[in-house]
């Protein structure tokens, strides 16, 4: 059973405020090790150099969007196995389907509560303790 406090999670969003809110939400779940990246390039850098258990990335970002990041992560030798949760807006079912095909492990619709995020994470990596 994965331990929430031991999880190493990378949060990717170009909006600082949203990143911080996601961090707070993760902390409510008990996650202690949180990396942040404000764009895809930095995210790949972190994912390829840090041991990570999970990437939570926004879809809507300039330059490299969440789908492009997902593909880059899946194509990166050092990062390809890291579970990936895509954060999307409401109603974008088509995007979620595409993300699943591209190797996303789950999605979460913005805005989300701690409970929803926890459920989504547990669906990916198993019940947290």
């Amino acid at each position: 059973m994965p331990i929430a406090a031991a999880l190493k999670v990378l949060v990717v969003d170009d909006q600082n405020s949203v990143r911080q809110m996601t961090r707070i939400t993760l902390e409510q779940i008990g996650v202690r090790h949180i990396h942040e990246a404000e764009n895809g390039v930095k995210a790949i850098d972190t994912a390829s150099t840090q041991p990570l258990d999970l990437i939570i990335s926004d879809y809507n970002m300039p330059e490299m969007d969440g789908m492009e990041l997902l593909r880059a992560v899946r194509g990166h030798p050092a990062a390809r196995r890291i579970p990936f949760i895509l954060v999307t807006g409401r109603g974008d079912r088509e995007l979620v389907v595409k993300a699943a095909q591209a190797g996303a492990n789950n999605y979460v619709v913005k805005p989300f509560t701690a409970d929803i995020l926890k459920t989504k994470i547990e669906q990916v990596i198993g019940r947290l303790s």
């Binding site: 600082n16 405020s17 850098d45 196995r81 579970p83 979620v96 699943a100 990916v124 198993g126």
Partner: protein
């Protein structure tokens, strides 16, 4: 402030940036030079606002942003073509979005139907009508989309996921630190333990080994990098380091199963390359001599390389920014100011020394001066912002005013990227707004009038900014009717601002609009009248050390030019001396300095006089009189007259004893300590450590006028009248 409040503030700051993006993008689209990227960028910005608003619970904002976003999405998808008509709906929508954000930020209740009109227009673009009722809210989750769960941790080691033999290759970095040896932990044992787990290939890093006689026996100089091919779990590897964590640097990274090896690069392993010092460092060095290369040579491809090199080259990070509180930068600016002063003092001391002692010092001092200047420029550039931040507000203003007045006006902007000190930007918004209001209200004619005058039906206001001669020049130009001198003069006479018999040049008449009391009830319309006249505009610009000039061509339009300093913290000043006192005059106010002969000055009562200057008469005053210093004025020919511009084109000659030179001075406000002193703008500390007052030429001019010419009855145009 709670952390949530801080986050909300961060969100609203991001919103401001997003709004600028939206406005800029839509303006580009409106002017026909937008692309798919433009639409995408606008969409993304609206989407970001919506996303953040959702997280922070600003529901009205989410609702409106959603419709806005849907229209943009349709444009992105090609179902809506970005025509002018559509952009004309989107621009006001951005105004509504701006308002909603402002209200949310201020914590105001948002009226339920706020922006309804714009929202309905957006809905119409989407082919919806109000009778359709609100759009079904999209579900917050999607049914029927199942994702395969993966097991974290296990995942990395799951045999099914690794190549062939179920073994994984880990990149290992192990660098013992001094603590480890002090605690009597032997790196060698650790390496042996690792060897037990699988095939270990390590290379010793010997680059930190010092020269033999500098080696200390209790310091580990050698680290190892390499690979471990094993079927053990990561936890098992970590266990090996269990007792030394914290006392050494350890990195264990799962590597991809090696692809078919390229050219194997034979690399010497640890032992042979490690130089002699082993005997000198018994505790640390023997490890290096251990032949760790014990892996069976089945995999010659596993070339041990330092971890950094083995790592895929990290992509270049995108240009990065960070947010810093303005106060922090201001503190640095202040410190740089102090540094400039201290350096000037140092300079004075050095110059006072005998040359044989001072030459080396001078050399170093020059370097200090050079670096200080660079430091100053860097800090100033940190505070600089693109003037676009102010300009961005104007398109909306123009749109609204054009609608209200029934005029057709387009706004052109140039030089939005011109960087200006933040303190100036903050104080530029109101004057610019007012100038543009004036231009649309009084300058640009109605479409019918314009057509009759043979002009394009649509008027143009051009807003531009550029660096010019060490200043920022901002221009607002319109192609309206210009100033009607007869009307302005008539009104000025009615108001008693000009004596009935005064003869004024057209330039002087144009400048009358800056006179306090000129803007009065009958020019106050719904638009340009907030009871604020152009005199306040001029005042605002002068407050930041700027100058405003007006050019008008009757029937062709007018141009208002604002010349602003690059910064408020440091100023170009002329250091002058009167009797025993030293003062600083802002260079921006000085037109020329001259040493007139006694005959050129016609003395009037009270030591005041008139200077004959190239056929014109300029009032001159002794600075000592003006400041009431109570000293006898020297009548020597040595005295200097500084011709200063009081800001409105009025000239004033200031008689001083001596010019001490041109210097950059750091402006220190005195108002907090002494209140506003007429004629004094602030103070500075000179190189000799003495405080000098910085004079306010405009105020001095007012003082001179009220003191000198009260007998003529007029207020300030007298020198013109006399000259004629």
């Amino acid at each position: 402030m709670s952390s949530l409040d801080q986050l909300k503030n961060t969100f609203f700051d991001e919103c401001s940036e997003a709004l600028q993006q939206i406005e800029g993008g839509l303006t580009d689209l409106r002017q026909g030079h937008g692309s798919d990227d433009t639409i995408n960028a606008v969409f993304r910005s609206v989407h970001s606002v919506k996303g953040g608003a959702g997280i922070f619970g600003f529901d009205s904002l989410v609702g409106f942003a959603h419709v806005f976003e849907t229209v943009l999405d349709a444009m992105r998808g090609g179902t809506l073509a970005p025509s002018t008509d559509i952009v004309d709906v989107l621009l006001p929508a951005n105004d509504v979005l701006t308002d909603l954000i402002a209200m949310s930020r201020a914590g105001e209740a948002i009226p339920p139907n706020y922006g309804q009109e714009s929202r309905a227009a957006l809905e119409r673009l989407l082919g919806r009508t109000e009778s359709d009722g609100p759009e079904e809210p999209a579900p917050a989750d999607f049914d029927g989309l199942d994702f395969m769960p993966v097991m974290v941790g296990d995942m990395a080691d799951a045999p099914a996921e690794s190549a062939g033999d179920g073994k994984q290759t880990y990149a290992i970095v192990f660098r013992p630190q001094a603590e480890m040896l002090r605690r009597a932990n032997e790196p060698l044992f650790i390496i042996r333990e690792l060897q037990k787990l699988g095939e270990l290939e390590l290379t010793a890093e010997t680059d930190r080994l010092p020269h033999l006689n500098e080696i200390e026996h209790d310091r580990p100089y050698i680290g190892w990098t390499g690979t471990l091919r094993t079927d053990a779990r990561r936890e098992q590897i970590e266990e090996v380091f269990e007792f030394v964590t914290g006392d050494c640097q350890v990195e264990i990274t799962l590597e991809e199963a090696p692809a078919p090896a390229p050219e194997p690069m034979p690399m010497p392993v640890a032992a042979p390359s490690a130089p002699a010092p082993m005997t000198a460092a018994p505790a640390a060095a023997p490890a290096a001599s251990l032949p760790v290369h014990q892996a069976p040579s089945v995999a010659p491809a596993a070339v041990p390389e330092p971890a950094e090199a083995a790592r895929p080259a990290a992509p270049k990070a995108a240009a990065t920014t960070m947010r810093v509180e303005v106060e922090k930068i201001d503190r640095v600016v202040n410190m740089v100011g102090e540094l400039v002063i201290a350096q000037a003092m140092l300079g004075q001391i050095v110059h006072g020394l005998p040359e044989d002692t001072s030459s080396r010092l001078t050399q170093i001092l020059d370097e200090v001066i050079h670096h200080t200047r660079e430091l100053k420029d860097s800090v100033m550039s940190m505070r600089a912002q693109a003037i676009g931040a102010v300009f961005q507000r104007m398109p909306r203003l123009v749109r609204e005013l054009a609608t209200k007045t029934g005029k057709k006006v387009q706004l052109e902007m140039h030089g939005e990227n011109t960087e200006v000190d933040r303190s100036i930007i903050e104080r530029l918004g109101d004057p610019l707004t007012h100038i543009i209001r004036n231009s649309i209200d009084h300058g640009i004619e109605s479409p019918a009038q314009r057509l009759a005058a043979g002009k394009d039906e649509e008027g143009t206001i051009t807003l531009s900014a550029e660096h010019r001669g060490g200043r920022i020049v901002v221009e607002v130009r319109d192609d309206g009717g210009g100033i009607d001198p007869d009307r302005v003069l008539k009104k000025a006479r009615e108001k008693g601002l000009v004596s009935p018999d005064a003869v004024l040049t057209e330039d002087e008449i144009n400048n009358l609009i800056f006179m306090p009391g000129f803007s009065t009830a009958d020019t106050i319309s719904d638009i340009s009248g907030r009871g604020v006249g152009m005199d306040v505009v001029r005042r605002n610009i002068q407050d930041v050390g700027g100058r405003i000039t007006i050019k008008s061509e009757r029937g062709r339009g007018m141009t208002l030019q604002l010349a602003l300093p690059l910064t408020l913290a440091v100023m170009d000043g002329m250091v002058i001396k009167v009797s025993q006192e030293t003062y600083v005059l802002p260079m921006s106010a000085i037109v020329e300095c001259l040493r007139p002969s006694r005959n050129d000055i016609h003395n009037l009562v009270g030591g005041r006089g008139l200077l004959q200057l190239r056929g014109n008469l300029v009032p001159v005053v002794h600075l000592s009189d003006l400041l009431d210093m109570g000293v006898e004025n020297s009548e020597s020919d040595e005295r200097v007259v500084i011709i200063a511009d009081a800001g409105d084109g009025t000239r004033l000659g200031i008689i001083v004893d001596e010019l001490l030179g041109h210097q950059q001075v750091v402006v220190k406000s005195m108002e907090e300590s002494y209140g506003a002193v007429p004629g004094v703008a602030g103070a500075t500390i000179l190189g000799n450590g003495r405080v000098a007052l910085i004079l306010d030429v405009e105020k001095l001019s007012e003082l001179a006028v009220t003191q000198t010419y009260s007998f003529t009855g007029g207020r300030s145009r007298n020198e013109t009248a006399l000259a004629n």
